[in-house]
Amino acid sequence: MNEYMNYYNRSIGKQYNTEEFTMNDWNPGIYMNQTPYSDAKKEKKNSILYNPYEGFAKGNLFKDLYKSYKGVKPKILEPKTEKMELLSYISTYAFAVHELNLYLDNDPFNQKMLEKYKKYVEELKKATKEYEKIYGPLTVTGVKQKDWTWVNDPWPWENN
């Protein structure tokens, strides 16, 4: 049993339920001698972030941008094996990292968002290391077994 078990319970656990992020100390800074970007401040957009679990289930980490279609309810993943538990955790944090990545591209001097980004990257790196040690590489440089496990099935498009 690895420490990333109980994906579903963790997602509804207290420690994640309250994780919301409000951008109140907006500090855009100067980028390439251009006027700082302040649209988001004016529109009060993108101010609250879902926790990574909810954001991943919804495909959207930014509460103000989420719009569902025809009442299709996003489902928190319920992984069936230990391997899938850990992979779901990785995909969840990789998603949160990617969402903040796109955000920061447009607003590179948002220190608070950058801090959050770094925190999620740490979480992602830790879990990835653990996964590659037990189940095999996620990227080709992640082979930690004595054999060349990169070629092992299943590949991502195969049912597991």
């Binding site: 980028y31 390439m32 251009q34 006027t35 970007y37 649209d39 988001a40 993108n46 991943f56 919804k58 495909g59 959207n60 930014f62 941008l65 989420y66 719009k67 569902s68 279609y69 025809k70 299709v72 996003p74 489902k75 993943l77 899938m84 992979l87 779901s88 990785i90 995909s91 990789a94 998603f95 990617h98 969402e99 990545n101 796109l102 955000y103 591209d105 447009n106 590179p108 590489p137 996620l138 990227t139 080709v140 990169w150 590949w155 991502p156 498009w157 049912n159 597991n160």
Partner: protein, 186 residues
């Protein structure tokens, strides 16, 4: 340089064969508003973005769209798995079988092969970003049509995920366009 990650952006595990739906999903693979066109368009446009923010955003969204190509292909592959020739014929995929067997090939839902003329590049950042915003809206609409066509939760969840991504991409392109428009005025 690109490096592959051996996982999908969002997990897909479809258990029920559905060839007619697979045929419709081809629209998001090799169709005019599909993921392949989006990816190639952004990865191509990034070379002429005026500064680092644009180069980064187009690189990062273009790369994510490649991951979406993989998700769409995965859905088509799993929906068609184990299909007999009779079943393929009945679903209007006889021609697909004749040319490609069970292999994937980027066409639209009617079997028209993918063409690079689906993509747009002008070298003008505002025009390109406007075009990307429209592209994201078209992709969102296509995902809604696809969601209308199924009630299999194994298909609906990843489709709903992909639809949300278009909403985010639209927003980020719009923000960047607004930034550039303001700055270019000076």
């Amino acid at each position: 340089m690109f490096a592959y990650q051996k996982r999908l952006q969002y997990p897909i595990d479809i258990k029920k064969k559905d060839l007619k739906l697979a045929k419709c999903l081809l629209s998001q693979y090799g169709g005019p508003y599909g993921e392949l066109a989006a990816s190639l368009q952004y990865l191509n446009q990034r070379f002429s973005m005026p500064d680092g923010r644009g180069k980064a955003l187009l690189t990062d969204i273009g790369t994510e769209e490649l991951g979406h190509v993989e998700m769409i292909c995965t859905m088509i592959y799993q929906l068609m798995k184990g299909a007999t020739i009779e079943e393929l014929k009945a679903a209007g995929l006889g021609g697909q079988y004749a040319q490609n067997d069970h292999a994937l090939y980027p066409t639209d839902a009617s079997g028209v092969p993918f063409t690079i003329t689906y993509t747009q590049t002008t070298g003008d950042a505002i025009a390109d970003l406007e075009s990307n915003m429209a592209g994201e809206q078209r992709a969102r609409a296509t995902y809604e049509h696809l969601m209308d066509l199924t009630d299999d939760p194994d298909v609906l969840q990843p489709l709903a995920f992909l639809r949300q991504r278009e909403i985010i991409h639209y927003q980020r392109f719009k923000e960047l366009k607004n930034i550039y428009q303001k700055e270019l005025k000076k």
